[in-house]
């Protein structure tokens, strides 16, 4: 038996158990220990985040090339280093405008990737999927009853259209001065709300289920700790 390792493991387990109980005690109300725990958690998380970034990106991309080959390395890193230094000026209120070009590059690239991904990855495939839902030729090899396939496709299509209609907010002003949507849009919106309520209910049940598994894991941890403690005693 390796006493120091065992002691270290015991202390770590003990601290984990205490922290778990402190967080659970939040159900009874907010208190000082809970806030201390959260502050400690935020500090540790921030530290690990920094370390991940430095180890995965900054060191291999900005420091290691220079260490490996100073001449080539400097040429390689000059542009990203310059951009990074410009971005650091964003920490200052007075000189934050100097970081605008770096931020502009990030924003432009990010926007383009989002737009490209949305068009190619979601918009076109999902619209095609709605159309192909009624492809009777494709149903035959998979053995799906065409009638059932059409009904299923119809339900999905109605759900898609009515959900989109629910988020349509264009309206005309009426004679009373109020803005009202057209009657057809209102009807579609009502049906869309029904679909959305069902979908969100399912998502909510998934959140609950994930939480119950976390509860089970934490309770199991506490039980194991207590049992190990009793065995040790």
């Amino acid at each position: 038996m390796n006493l120091p390792t065992d002691w270290i493991n015991f202390v770590m387990t003990f601290v984990s158990a205490i922290l778990t109980l402190i967080i659970f005690s939040y159900i009874f109300g907010d208190h000082f220990l809970y806030r201390i725990t959260i502050a400690l958690f935020i500090g540790v998380t921030a530290g690990f985040g920094c370390l991940s970034v430095i180890q995965s990106i900054l060191y291999p991309k900005l420091i290691q090339p220079v260490l490996q080959d100073p001449t080539q390395g400097v040429i390689k890193i000059i542009v990203p280093l310059l951009l990074s230094l410009l971005l650091l000026f964003k920490l200052s209120q007075r000189w934050s405008f100097i970081g605008n070009p770096s931020l502009a590059l990030m924003a432009g690239v990010g926007a383009a990737t989002v737009v490209g991904g949305a068009i190619k990855g979601t918009l076109f495939p999902q619209v095609l999927a709605s159309i192909n839902q009624f492809d009777l030729q494709a149903m035959k090899p998979s053995g799906v009853n065409p009638l059932v396939g059409i009904v299923e496709g119809g339900i999905i299509l109605i759900g898609t259209i009515t959900t989109l209609a629910h988020f349509h907010f264009g309206a005309r002003s009426s004679s009373e001065g109020k803005a009202r949507r057209g009657i057809w849009i209102e009807m579609f919106s009502w049906i869309g709300q029904l679909f959305i309520a069902v979908a969100l209910g399912w998502i909510f049940s998934g959140v609950l289920r994930a939480g119950y598994v976390a509860l089970l894991d934490r309770v199991r941890f506490i039980i194991l700790f207590i049992l190990n403690l009793l065995r040790g005693i």
Partner: protein
């Protein structure tokens, strides 16, 4: 020494000042001599008129019937006493009954104005009746100034002779000004040097007014004035006119000096007149519609409410009850403990869903030592469910001997990946070694940009492992140039946004059956839309602990999902009961409260 008040700006000036120091207005009218009597002002004297013409108003008649005794000698003092609405400068009492005629008054010489026909009146006191104006409040008005009337027998047109006010010709006694309280009222005095060129001078009066010889002041040389206006210029009276017997009607003013003397409703020049004027309330009615009015009111309300914090009314019915929350917690805690300790409902999921089946089928692409990319994108809070979901497939990969490559777009995903592999290694009884059998490439920042960069060029994006080794030259990874070179890509995530991002960025880069998703139950509905399409964008889907338990059951392996399955079933059942009971309790409680409120008459 009394100061001279400027009639234009109201500022005090030296008594002998000719011009105002502040606004440079003339304090002494043009044509006056250098001699100034004390208390000279620009006020004018009211001329005494003749018998009123038929169209002359009553008050004017009364003015003319005033006794001359008080103002016989030309002295007069216009005192306008008004009751409540008489301004200060008018509130002075005529205490002067005898006053010396003003011998210093100089009439404006019209000798040169008239030319040969000019009749120069001799200097003699003008006979005038004292004018005693009366007001509604029985005030007394006394004329104080004398205006020399020039009666020109010739040169006046008929229409001018018939103008009202001309009957005020006559000598007005000029009295020494008696100021009340130091306030210099207008029209109180006529400076003896003041030229009176009122219209009263135009009346054809038989009296001859003695004109003084022209002053030395060049600008008033009669020769410079045109002959056609000669009849308009009266001679300066030597006596003060009789005071007005009654005040003019309300709102009516009689001009007592200048070319408009004797006329009413003349626009005043002096600023103090504006003071005594009543303020006019301008009522402006906006031409707006009802709708605009309502919008304006709304806007005004918005502005007024800006910055004002409103107290939020607490609805009694919505008071949060900590007891119900504690009871629910205790129920679930009890169910968890009981389920974990006693396994009351042993069993495994029997049926296989399509997603699990497809995920199992996707493993057929994996051969020993073939690189499999594991994208670990979940938070530490969801590790329990994710290890339940992911155990089955990762365990199968380990059984197959795949070379696992870990990345994460979450800063802490690096450690989550390490933890997951170690847990599966331990529970599945494998001997997987880090750097030998699996490698962690680390954190991929930049979200979509980072993912797109990694897809395009994995080597350049993450050049080494978390241990700093260049793993791309290893046997397993030396052939990897782009993401499609991996035999299988497994995305393990509980984040709907991140799972969607990976599908969008991977779309078109690799075949759909090369991608398997292991997701949390909360993300399943989102990914189902991509998976359940006629042309699915992913090859397999294992969702939630029930998906993981199904996979483990089908694979014949006991992992975390099976370990938690019984207790999970009990906890979910208890939660359903707790939710239904809670809804019933709250509903009945609210009904009872509303009925008690109705009884209390609220």
């Amino acid at each position: 020494m009394e100061m001279k008040i400027c009639p234009f700006c109201g500022q005090p000036n030296q008594p002998n000042a000719e011009e105002c120091e502040f606004c440079h207005a003339r304090l002494i009218p043009l044509g006056e001599g250098s001699e100034k009597t004390e208390g000279d002002t620009l006020s004018t004297e009211m001329p005494i008129g003749e018998e009123p013409q038929p169209e002359v108003p009553e008050w004017l008649k009364d003015l003319r019937e005033m006794k001359l005794d008080e103002t016989e000698e030309g002295e007069g003092q216009d005192v306008i006493e008004e009751a409540d609405d008489i301004p200060e400068w008018l509130k002075w009492v005529d205490t002067q009954t005898d006053s010396q005629p003003s011998t210093d008054s100089k009439a404006f010489s019209t000798e040169d104005l008239e030319g040969e026909n000019a009749v120069r009146p001799e200097e003699e006191p003008l006979e005038s009746e004292p004018i005693q104006p009366t007001t509604k409040a029985n005030t007394e008005v006394k004329s104080t100034s004398a205006v020399a009337d020039q009666n020109l027998e010739t040169g006046l047109p008929d229409w001018l002779r018939e103008m009202p006010g001309l009957e005020w010709e006559g000598e007005l006694e000029k009295e020494e000004a008696n100021y009340f309280g130091g306030v210099v009222p207008p029209f109180v005095e006529i400076d003896e040097n003041l030229l009176d060129i009122g219209l009263s001078s135009l009346e054809t009066k038989k009296e001859e007014v003695v004109q003084e010889p022209p002053s030395e002041d060049k600008q008033f040389e009669p020769s410079t004035i045109k002959s056609e206006i000669t009849p308009m210029i009266p001679a300066e009276p030597e006596t003060i006119s009789a005071p007005l017997e009654e005040m003019p009607a309300e709102g009516k003013r009689i001009e007592v000096a200048g070319p408009l003397a004797g006329l009413t409703d003349i626009l005043p020049v002096e600023p103090f007149i504006a003071e005594e004027k009543k303020e006019v309330d301008f009522v402006a009615n906006l031409l707006i519609t009802e709708k605009q009015k309502k919008q304006a009111e709304l806007f005004q309300q918005l502005i007024e409410e800006e910055g004002i914090s409103k107290t939020i009314k607490k609805d009694r019915a919505e008071k949060s009850s900590p007891w119900l929350r504690i009871i629910i917690f205790l129920f679930l805690l009890a169910a968890s403990i009981y389920g974990l300790l006693f396994n009351p409902f042993p069993g495994k999921p029997a049926t296989v869903n399509v997603g699990v089946f497809d995920a199992m089928q996707a493993l057929s692409r994996v051969s020993p030592r073939s690189p499999v990319l594991l994208i670990i994108d979940y938070e530490a809070g969801d590790f329990a469910e994710m290890q339940s979901v992911g155990f089955g497939l990762i365990d199968q990969l380990m059984v197959k001997g795949a070379y696992l490559v870990l990345i994460s777009t979450n800063p802490l995903g690096v450690l989550q990946g390490e933890r997951l592999i170690q847990q599966v290694n331990t529970v599945g009884d494998h001997q997987y070694q880090s750097q030998t059998d699996w490698v962690n490439l680390g954190y991929l920042p930049g979200s979509t940009a980072g993912i797109q960069q990694f897809i395009q060029s994995p080597r350049n994006t993450l050049p080494g492992s978390t241990y700093g080794q260049n793993i791309w030259e290893s046997n397993e990874l030396k052939n990897i140039r782009q993401i499609g070179d991996f035999s299988l890509i497994v995305v393990i995530t509980e984040n709907a946004s991140q799972s969607r991002t990976w599908i969008e960025q991977l779309n078109g880069k690799i075949p759909a059956n090369q991608i398997v998703y292991l997701v949390s139950a909360q993300v399943e509905p989102v990914i189902q839309a991509y998976y359940a399409a006629p042309s699915p964008q992913i090859g397999g889907l294992v969702a939630g602990i029930n998906g993981g338990a199904t996979y483990e059951a089908q694979a014949g392996r006991n992992g975390f999902a099976i370990m938690f399955w019984d207790a999970y079933g009990l906890v979910v059942s208890v939660s359903i009961i707790a939710i239904l009971l809670g809804v019933l309790i709250n509903t009945f409680g609210k009904l009872r409260q509303s009925s008690s409120e109705k009884r209390e008459g609220r």
